[in-house]
Every structure is written in C-alpha cells, then in structure tokens.
C-alpha cells in the first residue's frame, strides 16, 4: 500500500482534460487494436489487396471501360471506396462491443467530453484508411494503375478518399450505437455498401445499365464519390464532380456527427 500512497498525491485530477489529449489517447488505443485484433488487421491489409487483384483479373478481361488504357485505371477509385466502406463497418462493430462490455460506461464516468471517444475512433480509422489507400495504390500500380492528372490531383484523390472514410466512420458509429449488438452492427454497416457499390459506376459505366437503374445509379453516393476520385486520378474536368462529392460528404457528416454524439450520450441511459 505504501507505493500507492506515494503516487496518490499527483494522481488527483484538477482541471478538465483537454479534448485534444483525450482524443489522442483514445486514438492510440484504437490504433493498437487495429494491429492486434485479427479481423481488423485483415480488413486493413488482406482484403484491400484481394479486392484489387480479384476485380482486376476476374473482370478486367471482359470489361472495356471507355477512355482508359487499363481497366485498373477505371476500377481503382471505386475499389478504394469499397475497401473503406467495408473497413468502416468494423467501427460500428467496435462501438457496439464497447457498449456491451462496459467500456463506454467507463469512458462516460471519466472527466472527458463525449466527442473525444468518438473522434478518437474516427481519427484512428482515418490513419488506417491512409494506409489502406496507399497499399491499394501500390498494388494497383503493380498491375498497371497510373495517375494521369499529376501529383496535386493524386494527393487530392487520396485526401478525398480519407474524408470519405471519415464520413463512413461517423455513419457506422451511429449505426453501432443504434443497433447496439456487435453482429447486427457489422451487417448494418456492410449491407448498404454492398448494394450501393454494385449499383454504382464503380465497376462499369452507368451508361451500360438498363434505363431504370441508371437514374438510381447516377444519384448513388458511391457513383458521386467514385466519379470525383476518377476525375482526380484520370484527368478531365474535376471541379463539378469534386464539388458534388464534397457536398454529399458534408451533408452526410452534418447529419451523422451530431446524431452519433447525441446517441452516444444517451446510449447507456435506456
């Protein structure tokens, strides 16, 4: 006991903990989990690589996308969105797990703001996504992918992909806090991504779809984001598609961030 007494004096908290500190501490926790939880590691490494190789070699022979030398040039922007969307489902799983195991109770009993717990998770996701995007570009480059619009546009593409991940992470936090059960949270996160991905321009041009599907595909947020990424990777007019993507993501964030924070604050009180 004497040892505990010795450190007790400087252990008493005085001021509220700065939000940047608490966010950084939670981010560090989630980054550690990313490399230690097997599922998370697979979602961040094996899966993105498989996406690039499988779609390139399974579809690349049959699909001839207009205006690009290789199908991978057309394909990679959509695959980035797919990998980020799948990865984000694990964020919903994780927050539901934290609810179930009492971690959220522990965090809520500490003198930190609610937003830090969620922001710390989103920040860790953003760092993971940066890694995933770099990995996919590297593997893509090995099978023929090239940026055609210069380094600035290439960096903008990476940034847009990461911002897309941020919006997906907030959406999945909201889903996880709403359904509360880890397995349901995983499905709730994956299902919309699968449906929206295959009904978007990610794999094939919208013009090749039947008329009734084209209207849906054009309004599909994955089409919008993929369109912007593709413009930044391949060249051509970028202003309009990028602005459309930014507006879509801003709209998604405007809804999901306050809703997720409110839902977190009330998560344990029902």
């Amino acid at each position: 006991m004497s040892t505990v007494t010795a450190t007790e004096a400087d252990a008493r908290p005085g001021r509220p903990v700065p939000v940047l500190t608490s966010t950084a501490v939670i981010t560090a926790r989630n980054l550690r989990r990313l490399v230690r939880v097997p599922t998370l590691l697979v979602f961040a490494t094996v899966q993105p690589v498989l996406f690039v190789l499988l779609f390139t070699y399974a579809f690349g022979g049959a699909i001839h996308a207009p205006g690009v030398p290789h199908y991978i040039d057309y394909l990679l922007p959509g695959l980035l969105v797919l990998a980020i969307g799948f990865g984000a489902s694990q964020t919903g799983v994780a927050i539901a797990e934290d609810l179930a195991t009492g971690m959220i109770d522990r965090f809520r009993s500490l003198p930190i703001t609610a937003a830090a717990v969620l922001a710390g998770r989103v920040a860790a996701d953003a760092l993971r996504n940066l890694f995933v995007v770099a990995l996919m570009i590297a593997v893509g480059a090995a099978v023929g992918f090239r940026f055609h619009a210069g380094p600035v546009a290439a960096l903008a593409a990476v940034a847009l992909a990461v911002v897309t991940g941020v919006a997906f992470s907030w959406l999945n936090l909201l889903l996880g806090l709403a359904v509360r059960d880890p397995e349901s949270a995983g499905l709730a996160g994956l299902f919309p991504v699968i449906i929206l991905f295959f009904t978007s321009s990610a794999l094939v041009p919208v013009a090749t779809m039947p008329g009734w599907l084209q209207a849906f595909a054009k309004a599909n947020p994955i089409t919008v984001i993929t369109g912007a990424l593709r413009a930044l990777c391949l060249g051509g007019p970028t202003t309009r598609p990028v602005l459309e993507a930014i507006f879509s993501l801003a709209g998604l964030l405007a809804v999901t961030v306050p809703a997720a924070i409110a839902s977190y604050r009330h998560a344990a009180s029902t």
Binding site: V4, A6, P13, G14, R32, G102, R106, P111, S269
Partner: protein
Amino acid sequence: MADPVIVAEDLGKRFGDVTALDGVNLELPAGGVLGMLGPNGAGKTTTVRILATLLRPDRGRAWVAGFDVTRNPGAVRRLIGLSGQYAAVDPFLTGQENLVMIGRLYGLTRRQARRRAGDLIDTLELADAGGRLVRTYSGGMRRRLDVAASLLAAPPVLFLDEPTTGLDPRGRLALWQLLGELTARGTSLLLTTQYIEEAERLAGMIVIIDHGKVIASGTPGQLGARAGGDRLDLQSPPGQDPHRVARALATLGTAQPAVDEAAGRVILPVADGAAILPEVAARLAAAGLQVASLALRRPTLEEAFLAYTGPPAGRPPTGPAQAAPGTPGAR
C-alpha cells in the same frame, strides 16, 4: 458527523414497464462505507449508475460531494472512481496499457500515469501479468484490473458494483484489505454486494434494497437486532431427530423454529434468550433429549436479509424468513 458525501433523495427510474427504482433515499457520510445489499434485479446497479452520472433518474435528485449528478456531471466525474458490474477493460491492450490510458484520460501526464499504473499493478498483485494482453487474463485478474482502473485517480469517492464477484478467496481477502486501508485514509466507498460477509466486513452502514426500494437500513448490528430478538442455535446429536428438539421448544420461540435435518440443527428465534435458558434445559431434560451444543447469539446479517426480503423461492417457509411477526418486508 461529517457532511454527507453522497445524498440520494427519492430516486425513481423506469425501463419500459419495469420499475427499477421506486423512491430510493441514501446518505453516506464523508469517509464512510455504505454497503448495498439486495437480490438480483433489486435496483443496486441502477442506483450506482445514477450516482456515477451514467444514468438520469426519472425523478428525485442526488448529490456527490455537493455536486448535483444530473446538473453538474463533469464535476462529479472528477471526484469518483467506478468499477461496474462487468470488468470494463480492453482485452487487446495489456494491463499496463489499460491503466495508463485511464490515467491519461483523468488528466495525468504520461509519466504520472505510468508510475501510478505500475503501483496499482503491484498493489493488486498483477505484477507478473502487467505486460500481457488482458485477453489472456483470468476472470479474477480482469476484475482486479478493473478495480485498479477505478482507483487510478485516487478518487475521494469510490463506487464498486459487486467488486469481488469472480475473485478467488485469496483475491477477495486482498481486495478487502486494500479497501479497508483506502477507507481508513478517508476514501468514501459505496459498494453493492451479494455477499453478506463482505457487507459486514467492510460497511459501517448497510441498506437493503428490494424491488427498487430501500426496505431497511442501519449498521450490521442494528439490522440484525431489528430482524427480531436473539437466536437459539441447537445441535442435535447424531441419531436423534432434530424435529423432536424443535417440537419440545417450539412454544418458547417468537416464531416457528427452523430445522436443518441434514445437519441436525435447530434455530429458534427467541425474544429474551438469557431468561429462557433454564426453561430450555428443563424441557429438554423432561423430553429425554440431548444437545451436542447450544449457543445463544444475535441474528446474522444473512438472517436479517432473508427476514426483510422474503424466503428464497421454492423453499418451505420454515427458515428465519418468518422470524419476527411484523418484520417489514417479510412475506
């Protein structure tokens, strides 16, 4: 008496159709230990969660160290440590990493958090496991790490919800000793428990909660006394039917004697034990009965608990449950 550090007034909480709390009142003097006893689902955890700012009550108010738990939860959180019913530690961090994380979230510097985490890991006898992932810990080790997390910021007010559930006897004794030392140095402690022994050992004040209400409160001795008079504890020798002993003495008691046939034991609630001892001896002699041992004692907290909360389901009501007529809560 010192100013109360925890006050709860008429706390009520419903979850859908279920009334979890129905007007709970509590008071804990600074530096005191309050034990909450009650069956599963009585409302112990709900009370702790409200006091620890995790849950808003539907009605009533509560203060911790003078701060209103619903209006000023931030101030309350800087003063409390909480160990909930389930060990809330991250299985994919090591024990040390878990504690350093909590310390940093309390506002300690990295250095302070590391030193403090190391000390608590030693104190709770996790030294060999501090560097291992919590995933590899036993249930008891996780539990101890969770208690360590609640102690990290040396909080003046500590909430422990069933802290020794899942601990082995040695871990339980060690934790009792640690909690005893903390409270001796001024930490106020509110603990819920299913173990009467734990409440008796640690708590100066006990409340018994059932169906969301405080049905009894007092020191362990007071609660025992209110469960009704004394207990005459007789051991019938092997080969002699304990029911014969019970029948011979039944009219001396304030309630039906409880007979434990297998153990040959008879427990008789009596109003004034010392005064009837000669009559007990006379009746036993007249009936030709022998006793291997005879003891006159105060009711245990366990007997008081059952007297207040009713007999366990499925057991005939011959136990101490009906000890004293008019005992509140006896059904």
